[in-house]
């Protein structure tokens, strides 16, 4: 059985100013990663990046991004990610850094990890909630976390998590 294997890197984009997070789009992240790889690993890295690299998923509300790399060279390209200092989008340079949370062989395993990670974040937020209303909403979000066929389910949880963080 011959199968093209890839590695999916689950990364979190950290920006200092939360409102700028919404301006991100996948094309901008792709350009930023390619530029960083070309700077760090030269023509050799840029060629490896062109084989099967793409941004599979980007959530602008929470800053979660899935990057796909080929299995044979993902470690080299992963080593170039800490050199990304800013993402250029719509004429603005947003200073940020990419934090890698998980490496998975398929999108499904990354999705499962993301749901577990989001539930942990919600659990961590619960003691920090100020009002009863927020506590109720967070508990409801935790209970509704589950793996369904569409990605909308955990996108909603992430959005409610983001709203909770903003209300704090």
């Amino acid at each position: 059985m011959v199968r093209l294997k890839s590695r999916y890197l689950l990364c979190e984009v950290n920006v200092s100013d939360r409102s700028q997070l919404l301006l991100l789009d996948d094309r901008a992240i792709m350009v930023a990663v390619k530029a960083a790889v070309a700077r760090t690993h030269g023509d050799y890295g840029a060629a490896m990046c062109s084989i099967r690299f793409c941004v599979k998923y980007l959530n602008a509300h929470t800053g979660i991004v899935f990057l796909r790399f080929p299995k044979s060279c993902y470690k080299l390209l992963w080593s170039a990610l800490p050199f990304i200092t800013s993402v250029e989008t719509r004429g603005q340079k947003i200073p940020c850094f990419l934090n890698c949370l998980h490496v998975g062989g398929t999108i499904r395993t990354c999705q499962k990890f993301l749901i577990r990670y989001n539930t942990q974040q919600l659990h961590r937020m619960l003691p920090k909630c100020k009002s009863e209303e927020e506590k109720r909403q967070v508990r409801k979000a935790i209970l509704s976390c589950s793996l369904t066929e569409s990605k909308e389910a955990f996108e909603e949880d992430s959005e409610s998590e983001e709203e909770e963080e903003e209300e704090e």
Binding site: R39, T40, H41, G42, D43
Partner: protein, 129 residues
Amino acid sequence: MKQVEEKEEASVYQRVVLKNASPYHYLKVRLVLEDESTRLSAVELKYFIITGLKSLYGEVGAALNFDVLKYDEDTLTAFLRVYSRSLVKLWSSLTLLGSYQNKACAFRVLQVSPFLLALTGNSRDLQLD
């Protein structure tokens, strides 16, 4: 290094294989330029090789440690020393280095060996009369 033992009267053929014997690899290279009259100093040569590494392998490649042990300015021949793990990267970037100051150039790699002593003799230059 293993000692070759003499058995009785007849000398026994013994093959000694050394793997990863030396931490360094030594290269003898010559730079061939289109314009014969240009002269490079040793520092310029080292910088030129670093720019080649940088274009092919990026910042990580440009950080590879290599030394120019001896340099002959008239024939543009140099002895380079590099760690064995970086040999492939250095050699491939020397191969793909094509132009010096917008003029065509080429690196001819004459000899490569893990031992410096091996670079003194060359069977290609041997005169058999």
